[in-house]
Symmetry: D2
Subunit: 136 residues, 4 copies
């Protein structure tokens, strides 16, 4: 598990006064960028440098508690499943007191962005993901 701290930004709420539900996908993506920060060039290096992306093909997300401006979440990112060309990332978002805000499972397919076709996982990317595969 790699943990990323994320404060709600001023412009992320909706007309109901809570963080817009679509924004949590941005939160999850921020956590994903942080997850790969340890690799040479980080996530941007994978996307821009190597031309490989992780398009999401399935989302399964539970929202359990709304958050507002002034709140902070801790996002625990791990792998629920790893295949050769696909994987399931889990981003579990909690308030500082442990309350679960959002439990997001993102199924991604490793993709050659030029050809827009699935591809094998690079070894270093796969190794990092395996190191954070949740026990079941």
């Amino acid at each position: 598990v790699i943990v990323f701290e994320r404060a709600v930004r001023f412009e992320e709420v909706d007309a109901a006064g809570i963080v817009f539900f679509g924004r949590f996908q941005s939160y999850a993506h921020d956590a994903l960028e942080h997850f790969f920060a340890g690799l040479e060039g980080g996530y941007a290096g994978i996307v821009v440098g190597r031309g490989i992306g992780f398009p999401v093909v399935h989302l399964d997300v539970d929202f359990q508690s709304p958050i507002r401006y002034g709140d902070v979440v801790f996002i625990e990112t791990s792998l629920a499943k790893i295949g050769h060309r696909s994987a399931v990332f889990r981003h579990l978002m909690k308030k500082p007191d442990g309350t679960i805000v959002c439990d997001a499972k993102h199924t991604v397919v490793l993709t050659d962005l030029k050809a827009m076709k699935s591809c094998e996982m690079p070894a270093d990317v796969r190794a990092l993901m395996l190191a954070h595969l949740a026990a079941t």
Copy 2:
């Protein structure tokens, strides 16, 4: 089914050149606002005027085909399920040629936004939703 046409906007793509997956929640919400446009005051009237919202408690979304700037989708919004305080909206997004882009199921809970507690569905809201309940 109520259909809403939505063009990709200039700023909605990501660094991989396709519409960012989190944006489809905004697309779905635009379709939801359009769905309720026929009621007095529209969706804004429900949220601002009556103080009732539809926070999403669960997302189940399949992404089948990426879209880019210049593309248009038709979003078919219907109800997959209707309870007393909750419901499942389905937003099926297709390209003009019929290719499925995204199949999103959003479980929402009718909520009194002041108390942030679930509440009964207003009769007109429920009637509109029932009129678009998909046969199973």
Copy 3:
């Protein structure tokens, strides 16, 4: 002047309950896309098809009245100035009662997006812009 009607979207407010000031640049861009909608392929055709863009090099914006969810603005787009490679678009946003919300002047430079260098205006683009040059 070409007029574009734009409703405030649910997710466009900030924690102060009004439309976030940065969002008005998106409103202006929506109006710009609408402005060029009459050309073959529209604005997307210019950007994606011809590889030409209008990066903004200067913004001069007055905000006169805040708007909230439920509000609608009419955006009057015209040209304040037209050169060979640059131009000043003016996007004047008003409430239905005529109250000025935002008066935005955007200086843009026609740019070959591949070379990221300024370029001459295509004749049809220039003709449309000249047709909406404000008298001074």
Copy 4:
């Protein structure tokens, strides 16, 4: 001057492949939140706790160099002018090599968000701003 480091996020580019010009207002606001982070409760404490906001009434922004995914900017925030109820923040954004990306001047009016009327600056807010007033 208080400096804030900001990496371009994956979803912040537009269909021309560069950071969307409207996004820089979000960058500036992130820098503003960082500027006030030293006060008790931070910027959220001012907005949510004290009910005071800084709506922007005028924007004067120069864009000098585009940035892309993978880039980082350093935002130098200072005050160009301080009045009793209004002020001009300057957010000068530079690449690590010193290239100026964006020079943004935001005129704000201190506002009681409940009454939506201008108000006096709280003493601690004013003191922090005065400490970063640029010499002229």
